[in-house]
Amino acid sequence: MSTKVRKEKPFYPDHLFTEAVVALVVLAVVMLLAAFTVVPTEPIANPTDTSYIPRPEWYFLFLFQALKYFHGPAEVLGTFLLPTVFILLLILLPFYDRNPAKRWSKRPVALSSASVILIGVIVLTFLAGPVSTVTLFANPAHGKQIYAAKYCDSCHSLTGAATTDGPPDLLHVGSRLEPQYIYDHFKNPSALVKNSEMPPVTGLSDKDLKDLTAYMMSLK
């Protein structure tokens, strides 16, 4: 045990003062964020637009990603069983972890299982999240409008039809390509695909190009 002597401090006023300072710093951070960023807003809800692919709040992304691995009858495993087991394991932790030790070095099982779960959640979040910054602030709903306005559908289909030659079908393009590639390809298709018959996408701002890329990425 360490022999370091530190004097106990009273809650009032010493500790409360420290807490007040922390609270003020935190408040300042939140106010600065509020003042200098824009809360992202999408178009008004359209219940008939069933092609919209929603993304949950970032802290639900790991769950959203995990659900992708369960299909058909197994889906209920991902939507119900796994989360329920997870929450029960969390709530009941003090009752099944009977090891009285508190120091981390004496709790190898608890620490390693928790690390595995934590790493799993982080990895799933990143798998679901934007790996590229191209689409970080982009609006896929707006990209969809551009897709129509630029007559992309005069060449491309969105039906999942198999295409051997000619313009590829784009129904699942988001699971096939990386955002950076799509974005670069728009600017100059023939630089990436030899003799590409797709004309460069012109007359759009950089933001529009990113929105269009985000829309492509939403087609999974």
């Binding site: 530190r6 409360l16 964020l33 692919i53």
Partner: protein, 214 residues
């Protein structure tokens, strides 16, 4: 004579206040222990900014979107208030998780603090509940469709699924009734439970003290 003395003479405040304030803070408390307090501060901030947002927000499909845009673009300080509520909603999840990891790391959930861990997990779930219900309120595309997916998940639960789905949506469709329901849960039901569980959490902390991490 100070105001405090005046009140103390009539209401005998000293013993109560002393009980609340006069106790030593253990020497092992360091910066890792601040996240519970920050989370609490964030909750208070959400309550305050939320009360302001409610002055203009209208929980109906015809007006929700417009009222949020009005708050953001027209109301004085509306952008700041909404931005604070938005950012705090994100940061509170970060701090509550760090707090939970801190408690786990120090083994502070072990006897005799089992019940406070259980109360803590409930607080964590309540926090996530605020996030889920609040997401629908701006009534934009992602709000609507993310909630459609989220409530569908409730519908996939065996046996009681279709009941849960109807309970969450107030019918089979996601519409006006759902929005009012989510609003009600977000501003009345969850805050009520949050306050109850926070009171329990803090009561237990004061009775048991901060655990020794070794």
């Amino acid at each position: 004579m100070s105001v405090y003395d005046w009140l103390d003479k009539r209401l005998d405040l000293r013993p109560g206040l002393a009980k609340m304030l006069d106790h030593p803070v253990p020497t092992w408390v360091n910066w890792l222990y601040c996240f519970g307090g920050i989370t609490f501060f964030f909750f208070v901030l959400q309550a305050i900014t939320g009360i302001f947002l409610m002055l203009y927000y209208v929980p109906s499909p015809d007006h929700a979107y417009e009222s949020v845009q009005y708050i953001t673009n027209t109301v004085h300080f509306g952008k700041i208030i909404r931005g604070m509520h938005h950012w705090t909603a994100t940061l509170i999840v970060v701090t509550v998780v760090i707090h939970m990891l801190r408690v786990f790391w120090h083994g502070a959930y072990k006897a005799p603090r089992e019940l406070n861990w259980v109360a803590g997990v409930c607080l964590f779930l309540l926090t996530m509940g605020f996030g889920f219900t609040g997401y629908l309120l701006p009534w934009d595309q992602k709000a609507y469709w993310a909630t459609a997916v989220g409530t569908n998940i409730a519908g996939s639960v065996p046996v009681v699924g279709s009941f849960l789905l109807k309970l969450a949506r107030g019918g089979t469709d996601l519409g006006a009734v759902t929005l009012v329901r989510f609003f009600d849960v977000h501003v009345a039901l969850l805050p009520l439970f949050m306050v109850i569980f926070l009171a329990g959490h803090f009561f237990m902390i004061r009775r048991q003290g901060i655990s020794r991490p070794y």
